[in-house]
């Protein structure tokens, strides 16, 4: 039994810093500005849990904490930005311990490799069910490491079949313009060149919203994310 202290990482800070450094390093047009906005998540997506049971009650004595968990995995990505180049490929290590992934969210450029180390005591069965060619189902015994390369731009959710709550979101971007959201759902992407871009929101293992945006606009964006099932229902009604 390996006793290990949890290392909680502030992913918004990390991603913002990553975005800033990438923006400075790659260089952006002189008209670059910050794209700010708010992602309105449905109630069910504001939980720290991916999967809800019947009840979730406060203890009545000690204030509850509502940070971390699945809430860390919401990210806003800009695609098709004028003159933007993808971040360089790199290798990102994800530790699997305590039936959790650290970090849960990886945002990197095409060709990057995600290295998964099983530091826990249980065997894991990891795969990308939506794109099995990228990462087919494979057992990862305790202490073992598995690598997977992500070449194509897009979002990938690595799941464990035995413990569905274990999920790693891998976002391969074609530009350095992305940001995670804070507790209030706010985000800011610095150094975005003026022009048209495609904004996408990734949360809870899938793209939840997308829209065309004008990055030269100074107004704050408000991106609404539909509740699970509602989007499909609206699409179905539209089709009918």
């Amino acid at each position: 039994m390996t006793l290990r202290t949890f290392s909680r990482v502030s992913f918004p800070a990390v991603s913002a810093a990553l975005a800033l450094s990438l923006a400075l390093g790659l260089g952006v047009p002189a008209e670059a500005g910050a794209l700010k906005g708010t992602v309105k998540l449905p109630d069910s997506a504001r939980s720290t849990r991916l999967y809800q049971g019947y009840w979730r009650l406060e203890n009545g004595n000690v204030p509850v904490s509502n940070t971390g968990g699945a809430k860390l995995e919401t990210v806003v990505v800009l695609e098709n930005v004028n003159g933007a180049h993808p971040p360089p490929a790199r290798t990102v290590t994800v530790e699997m311990g305590g039936l959790d992934a650290h970090p849960r969210l990886v945002i990197t450029g095409p060709g990057s490799v995600v290295e998964i180390k099983n530091t826990g005591k249980v065997r894991l069965d990891l795969s990308t069910p939506e794109t099995p060619s990228v990462m087919p189902l494979e057992q990862l015994p305790p202490g073992a490491t598995r690598r997977a390369k992500f070449d194509a731009v897009g979002g990938y959710a690595i799941h464990d079949s035995e413990y569905p709550h274990i999920m790693i979101s891998v976002i391969i971007v074609d530009s350095p313009f992305f940001a995670t959201i804070d507790e209030k759902g706010s985000f800011a992407i610095a150094g975005v060149p003026d022009g048209k871009a495609h904004l996408k929101v990734w949360t809870r293992g899938k793209w939840a919203a997308e829209e065309e945006v004008d990055t030269s606009s100074k107004e704050e964006l408000i991106v609404k994310v539909a509740a699970p099932g509602q989007k499909e229902k609206e699409e179905k009604e539209t089709a009918e």
Partner: protein
């Protein structure tokens, strides 16, 4: 006959409607039963969902109550702070668990786990109770408990389903979270039996495409996961499937499946409730479902059914009697009277429909036979048009006049012997002899010479010395119309001729004769024949009136008489090239 036909048609229609009703009527009932069974399963699913919900709350309450235990709180506080001997704390918590819950199995508990504030397992009781020290803080229910939430979840781990409830353990001062406790409850055959008992339906639990527990025999529901998997869209939208048909051996089942909440829902974990489909509604199924009890007097309307059946039969018989047997009997009696000579013709006005037609035909046949020519001329059988046409005369080759059996000799006032009586076995009215036929002279009766017989003034006394017998009619006897049949005194007839005995002993009667009336009757008969023949040939009869037709015949007759110098003309109907046609036979004398 009309009412009889209507009655039979009515009975056929009623029978068809009754049969249709018998086969169709159960179908809505079966559909309704299926719908009701589906609704019952829906309600059972709702009840099961509520039961799971209450169960989850109950487990949360239990765990929360455990978390308020002072010894557990202090022990976990010490473990979280890292003070105290770790092994001692482990044993202390285990002992405390066993004290608080002496029998886990009775409570349906698989495992109780205590964790410090970092998600490290301090102690377990139940499954793997010797293991501790591992981190499970990533488990959502545990992470929630360490955030301060009391919550539940359902796991699908190791091929088993487990319902889990977690709660934080607060410090003695209830001002901070010092750890968490979670309980795993058995979710397998025990739950299935409990659900079946409470809901009165069969239950199956599914996980990752397999049936892991069922109240039905193992292997029966192997097809169930596939059926449920085909309705994931319904499950995502409605949180359950509609009632789905499932065949298990001879049983037709209905299934409603719903997902478990929590992360097990991501692992295709469902609970399925199974009810029986109603029986089929086809004839075989209906009959096979009939029991002897259903046919008892109290349960089956035997009396009304029998009464209705006999009433229908009685009405049919009455209609048959009124429309068929009675007129047939009357007609027969009249025919017997005609045959007996009591009547000269049938009163066809008393009969309707085909019996009326039959009566008229019989009258016409009697009349024709009575006045039929003895032989037909060579012109017989010629088409009317041929006779009347420019070349018609060339074919007019009548037998020499004066011949005793020249064809156109009109029927004598006293007809040749006819059939002794109307009998179905023997034709009552034999057809007239064919053209050219010369009847052999009767040994005791020679027809009177034609000149001696003047039809219009019939009957006239005449001498028949050449026949070897004298026949004379009393002057008092006057010609009588058909409608006033008059019997001639039999003593006025010669014993050897006029009063010839028929085989049954009845005498032949002298029939009064009226030429015009006879001709009209003949023309009417021809008209009837002509209309019937046209109908039988499928020709239209619209516009063909009796008056016009009779007038035409009279005109034709006059033309023929004038052309050929014959006394009269007899018409008959035949079919030529598929159409009704008239044929004329001149009668010389």
């Amino acid at each position: 006959m009309f009412l009889s036909k209507i009655w039979f048609i009515l009975i056929a229609l009623v029978s068809a409607v009754a049969g249709t009703f018998a086969l169709v009527a159960p179908r809505p009932a079966v559909q309704k039963l299926a719908a009701l069974e589906g609704q019952r399963l829906d309600r059972a699913q709702y009840a099961a969902e509520q039961m799971f919900k209450v169960d989850a709350h109950k487990w949360i309450d239990r765990v929360s109550k455990l978390g308020r235990d002072a010894i557990l709180s202090e022990s976990l506080d010490a473990a979280s702070r890292g003070s105290g001997e770790y092994t001692v704390i482990h044993r202390t918590i285990q002992d405390r668990f066993r004290t608080l819950i002496p029998d886990l199995a009775t409570g349906g508990i698989d495992v109780i786990v205590a964790l410090d504030s970092k998600g490290r397992v301090i102690a377990r009781v139940g499954d793997n109770e010797k293991e501790y020290g591992d981190y499970v803080g990533g488990i959502e229910v545990v992470a929630d408990a360490l955030r301060g939430y009391l919550s539940d979840d359902v796991w699908g781990v190791g091929g088993k389903l487990e319902r889990v409830a977690g709660a934080p353990v607060l410090s003695k001062g209830k001002d901070r979270i010092v750890g968490a406790i979670y309980v795993g409850a058995e979710t397998g055959p025990g739950l299935v039996e409990r659900l079946k008992k409470n809901l009165d339906v069969d239950v199956a639990l599914l996980l990752r495409g397999k049936v892991i527990a069922s109240s039905r025999p193992a292997g029966e529901l192997d097809a169930l996961p596939e059926i449920v998997a085909q309705h994931t869209a319904d499950i995502a939208e409605l949180k359950r499937t509609p009632a789905l048909p499932l065949t298990v051996g001879q049983d037709k089942l209905l299934v409603v499946a719903a997902p478990f909440p929590g992360q097990a829902g991501e692992q295709q974990a469902y609970y399925a409730l199974l009810g029986m489909q109603p029986a089929k509604s086809d004839l075989g199924a209906l009959l096979s479902n009939v029991s002897s009890n259903d046919l008892k007097w109290g349960n089956f309307p035997w009396v009304p059914l029998t009464a209705v059946t006999f009433a229908m039969i009685a009405i049919g018989l009455i209609l048959q009697r009124v429309e068929v047997e009675a007129p047939l009997g009357r007609l027969r009696r009249e025919l017997q009277k005609v045959a007996a000579g009591d009547l000269q013709k049938i009163d066809d006005g008393k009969y309707g429909g085909k019996y009326g037609g039959l009566a008229r035909d019989v009258n016409a046949a009697v009349e024709r036979y009575t006045h039929a020519p003895g032989a037909r001329s060579e012109m017989a059988g010629k088409d009317l048009n041929a006779i009347l046409g420019p070349s018609g005369g060339s074919t007019f080759d009548l037998p020499p006049a004066g011949s005793a059996f020249s064809g156109s000799t009109p029927a004598p006032a006293f007809a040749p012997p006819v059939a002794p009586a109307f009998s179905p076995a023997a034709p009552a009215f034999p057809p007239p002899p064919p053209g050219g036929f010369a009847p052999p002279p009767l040994p005791s009766f020679n027809p009177p010479p034609a000149p001696a017989f003047a039809p219009p003034s019939l009957p006239q006394p005449f001498s028949a010395s050449g026949l070897g017998a004298s026949i004379s009619l009393p002057p008092a006897i006057k010609p009588a119309p058909w409608s006033e049949p008059q019997q001639l005194p039999t003593d006025a007839l010669d014993d050897g001729a006029a009063d010839r005995q028929m085989p049954d002993g009845e005498a032949t009667r002298v029939v009064p004769y009226d030429q015009h009336e006879e001709e009209d009757a003949h023309f009417r008969h021809v008209f009837d024949d002509f209309v019937d023949t046209k109908r039988s040939c499928g020709e239209p009869t619209a516009g063909l009136t009796q008056a016009k037709f009779l007038q035409k015949l009279r005109d034709n007759k006059s033309t023929l008489v004038a052309k050929h110098g014959c006394r009269t003309v007899r018409f008959s109907v035949y079919v030529k090239d598929g159409k009704a046609a008239l044929r004329a036979t001149p009668i010389r004398e």
